[in-house]
Symmetry: C2
């Protein structure tokens, strides 16, 4: 039995939803369908969720928002008309919007309620449509599915009871269409996951019902071995482990919400990334373990926008606690660090640059001088991180050699290497301006 | 004006001390002479300091120690006889030993007092000898030199006032012979530096009197580019910066006490490592800055006896404070870490293996599980660290490529790479059994 999750582009209009219908109909083991809100139909289109957020903000600021409501309703009307299904969905949606806007709830609660409407109505439409093509399908609200979460609007965390509740659905008749992205607290209040959270719902459902496979339908045939905006038509990844996927999605691979892998990972459910527009393509399988093969590098990830804060102090390594104190200063400013490589008398803390506001920078530098009495502190901005990812890499002789040779051949200076902390990746820090050359050269070395 | 420090082998017997005399006489700018206790005369010989420590321990345990006292006295007698100088030194030394052993001071104080006798009497003998060959030389006790330290027996720390006190000696007449290794607290109590601390005294004196050069006389012509027990007759290093020397001396280069560089470094006094047995060899200069040259790698250091503790937890990098908490656990067990490279969901803490007793290991593993809820913890023992050291390395394209190629060609797997935290070194973690092959291959690549 499978859980199939369809992303925004897969449910963007009637044409796409018909493809979803064919996919669900084509495999009777696809029993749990999790859906996103309608996404973009073309590059310059809007996403329903963005319009709902805009609506919440406009209303909050007492600005006119009738146009927004119309845009949202029209989009759903159009889908329903083209799918040729009978329903009160648009009328009920209008009533829901009205009632949320007029309620006396706090703004955060209203925001989450509005945001949920995209997925919720998408699920209602799709269950109607699946029924209309002869499937025994029903809409299932997350509350009725028993998906319980913490009371943290916009960043809900799953409660363990949810999995037991979901498990009871295994033996129910028919197909369930469940809206992604939101769930309910113990008190019955609606809250949403973080953005892109339909992936999380899908993963939770897959773990709960103990699916044989969690299919994640998107608009690409597979995960690519490298960012396709840097390398033309890169190789597709057929199989990747959870650990590899996690490293890839961290740096530039945005195909999959990184938090979403956890429930599937913990329950050992394999995940398949597939294309709604080309469902016969094999897609990319995400699994716990894969057979070792001679090519241990599975992908090259890259991302920009990092900076490093370098601290040097003579005899630093004799001071028990220096590194810990340095990291504590960042923690106090609520800055999470990516890496903290240390030498004998030096330590660098690599962070995402956007976390370091001028105010925080001033505070941190002051504390490093006042409390740690550093000899020197330097900030190095506009760094890019390139990660070469693959299981078994650390036990294969010569991978570092190949990678550093590729980077040197691209005439790129390596500012930083971090290998060995992760068992499945090797990280290189370079200047942002060098990123394309370095990644292209690495791709050529490992994949061509 | 120069400060010349002579190590244990340089003052081990009369023959060596005569060389010291010739060196001091040969350059009238050598005004401050700092000396160690007599060291080994040949490979299987004993060091006076070791006998003094043994004496303290035997006495403390109420064990017979007359033989030890005789051995110590005989060694000094022999030196004095062969140098053909008149003195009461041996008689006074015997009285000193008696009086320390019979005193009511705490054991730690007695220990430091006994340990200091080696250097103290070495200095007295050498000043007598220098006078006997026509030099205007005088013994100068560290108390009279104004060298003031903290009251930490066996690990005294210098007080800043010392430098001002020493400065006044610049304009005094003649040559001063100062015993290394010990100094006095504000209350006038004798305490020693850490072992090998004569280098520290020399460096402090050089900084205080604002010497033009601090000469450190040993039994090697220079610092070598690599450990001579791994590579036969390696190249000599002519010039090295303080920073490079610090990295080199950290891992395997034991020629110079690492703490000893600080006073010279802070005062900007260049240091020269020279050979008492071949004083005309140029030696190795340690300086603040050197001219950039095409060969940026100055040396390859290596050391064994490390282990890494690997911690993995899904979504670790979202947990602000994880790294800091992990390091705190080590700090609580008084274990200093060497490196702590971190990946996205992984962090490794590299420590010197001898710090991890079974008891501490048990405690640390328990806390990592109980407090940090790690998914996996693994301990990886018997690691070696190899460091490629050189200023300007991090801004030279291709150094990492050369190094990783050399290691791969030696058929050695790289467990860990740490580059970029230090501006002058690149660190590789490998298995201990691979160390010779890896170091030999790196040496060939960078020096042949």
């Amino acid at each position: 039995m499978k859980v199939a999750k369809f992303g925004g582009s897969s449910v963007a209009n009637a044409t796409q939803i018909k493809k979803v219908g064919a996919i669900v109909k084509g495999d009777s083991t696809r029993k749990f369908i999790v859906v996103s809100a309608p996404g973009k139909r073309h590059k310059d289109d809007f996403k329903i969720t963005d319009k709902l957020i805009e609506l919440a903000i406009q209303h909050n600021q007492n600005k006119p928002h009738k146009n927004l409501v119309d845009t949202i309703l029209n989009r759903f009307s159009e889908i329903i008309d083209e799918l040729n299904i009978q329903s009160n969905i648009v009328y009920e949606l209008e009533q829901s919007i009205e009632s949320i806007l007029n309620s006396k709830e706090p703004d955060l609660i209203k925001m989450d309620a509005l945001k949920s409407l995209g997925e919720d109505n998408s699920a209602k439409i799709i269950s109607e449509y699946l029924s209309s093509i002869g499937l025994h399908a029903a809409y299932l609200n997350p509350k009725d599915a028993g998906i319980l979460v913490s009371n943290e609007p916009g960043k809900a965390q799953i409660f363990r009871e949810s999995y037991d509740n979901l498990k009871t659905l295994r033996n129910e008749e028919g197909i369930f269409v469940i809206p992604g992205f939101f769930a309910y607290t113990m008190d019955g209040d609606l809250v949403t996951f973080s953005r892109g959270g339909s992936d999380i719902t899908g993963s939770i459902v897959a773990a709960g019902v103990q699916a044989d496979l969690y299919e994640n339908f998107t608009d690409v045939d597979s995960v690519y071995a490298v960012n396709p905006t840097i390398v033309n038509q890169p190789k597709e990844i057929l199989t990747v482990t959870y650990k590899e996927m996690r490293e890839l999605s961290y740096a530039g691979f945005s195909v999959f919400h990184d938090e979403a892998l956890i429930p599937a990972f913990k329950a050992g459910i394999p995940v398949c990334i597939k294309n709604t527009n080309n469902p016969n393509a094999p897609g990319t399988m995400i699994v716990a373990e894969k057979k070792p093969n001679e090519k241990c590098v599975v992908g090259i990830a890259s991302d920009v926008g990092f900076c490093s804060l370098y601290v040097s102090k003579y005899l630093m390594n004799r001071e028990v606690g220096f590194g810990r104190k340095l990291l504590h200063i960042f923690e106090d400013e609520e800055i999470s660090f990516e890496h903290a490589p240390s030498g004998i008398d030096d330590m660098s803390v690599i962070i995402r640059q956007n976390q370091l506001t001028a105010e925080k920078e001033r505070k941190i530098l002051k504390r490093i001088n006042d409390e740690l009495h550093a000899d020197m502190v330097k900030i190095h901005r506009n760094l890019a991180m390139v990660m070469v990812v693959g299981e078994g890499m650390t036990s294969t002789i010569g991978v570092a050699q190949k990678a550093t040779t590729a980077i040197a051949e691209a005439n790129v200076n390596i500012e930083m290497i971090n290998q060995g902390s992760s068992e499945v990746s090797m990280m290189f820090g370079i200047q942002e301006i060098d990123i394309n050359r370095a990644v292209q050269s690495l791709y050529t070395t490992f994949f061509e």
